[in-house]
Assembly symmetry: C2
Homo-oligomer: 234 residues x 2
């Protein structure tokens, strides 16, 4: 995510959660997120360290017509590519804006050489893909539309399934048995998320049989702890 | 932010926005955010690269009693410090849990040697500070309570003030003049944020006079562009 507006607290981010959920649907796990300011060096550094580390990167924000929209230029520099006027992007903008296509708007047709376009049915100005980096808008509606285009190019994996067990027992009662169960089923990621008056246990795995079994065992464990806790507390 | 639950999309983060807004109140700018999974190496890497780069770091998540709560141990490793049983933290937990203080809960009293505690009036188990790193809980209510304690130790700066101009003109009409104005007032950060049927311009500065002046000029510019646009569009 690129943008001072997230870091200043002005804007509440909505794209992270959308992306996480939709990638999960394709069997792709979101592994890391960074929010960086509108500073060229910071964007370049983030792009270059993440694109080598992961299969895909998605950026949001900073591809509009104003002076603070510097993402496309920064991505070009990260790839040591020229920022060029993309003919198809220019046509799309010309069709959309007609004689209102001024210099500022035309800036949105400049993308790194070698990049391909990501369709934007909402406001026409396209996003783009260069190698494994998908560069998309920050406005959630447009981000979501561009993701729709990007998702067709993604190679997914086996979908992670998850099951959730909610109990009014707090984490401290569950921790020991949960850890033993985690050791028994290393192929299931067992997360424990406290809320004010209880705990949600979320089990996630691509091994659906192990997921079912471990969940069933956990339900029994929770019931047993609950009986003991009630008797302990009188 | 540390936690698979944010990256899987299960949990919508709320702490980023809270932190950004509250730091701004103290005249401290949030400069970067990372969301990393519950993997020790990733946490250590993030802590160590960020703590050298910035004045303060705040972490959220992973300090509970379950096996997936590995933040305290990872922070200790990042500082090459031992993870020790903190006597005061132990007392706090003993007072809160009484004879229900089992081994899992006691884990929350283990913090890196040299760290000081951050009070947690919500659920007792404290956060901690080691050097410039504040380690806090992920549950928003507890994160917010710990921030209250942490904020007393922060050295703030002059508060950035902001003004917002909202118009139904889209960014493309404003971009050229906005850029000229940005050049005239380099001490004012001018952000342009499109929404579906218009634009919000947010001006931010610690130079309050320049902020007032540039805003007044922008309001005039917007009015002028609007007149021209209406006449152009007939």
């Amino acid at each position: 995510m690129i943008g001072d507006e997230i870091l200043s607290g002005r804007t509440q981010d909505k794209n992270l959660n959308f992306l996480a959920k939709n990638l999960a649907e394709l069997g792709i796990s979101l592994k890391e997120v960074r929010v960086v300011p509108d500073i060229e060096g910071e964007i370049i550094e983030a792009i270059n360290s993440l694109r080598k580390k992961y299969d895909y990167i998605f950026t949001s924000g900073g591809i509009g017509p104003t002076h603070d929209d510097i993402t496309s230029a920064a991505v070009a520099k990260a790839f040591d590519a020229k920022l060029i006027l993309h003919k198809t992007a220019e046509e799309i903008l010309r069709k959309h804006y007609g004689d209102q296509l001024n210099e500022a708007r035309l800036k949105m047709a400049y993308i790194p050489q070698g990049a391909s376009l990501l369709d934007n049915p909402v406001s026409s100005a396209p996003g783009f893909r260069i190698e494994n980096v998908f560069v998309m808008a920050g406005v959630p509606k447009i981000f979501e539309a561009m993701y729709e285009a990007a998702s067709k190019e993604l190679i997914g994996g086996k979908k992670t399934q998850s099951q959730e067990i909610t109990t009014d027992l707090t984490e401290g009662y569950l921790a020991y048995d949960l850890e033993q169960l985690q050791k028994k089923y290393p192929q299931v990621a067992m997360g424990s998320y406290p809320f004010v008056s209880g705990t949600s246990l979320v089990f996630r795995s691509i091994d659906y049989v192990a997921l079912e079994r471990s969940c069933a065992e956990m339900v029994e464990i929770v019931a047993k702890i609950k009986c003991n806790t009630i008797s302990t507390l009188k």
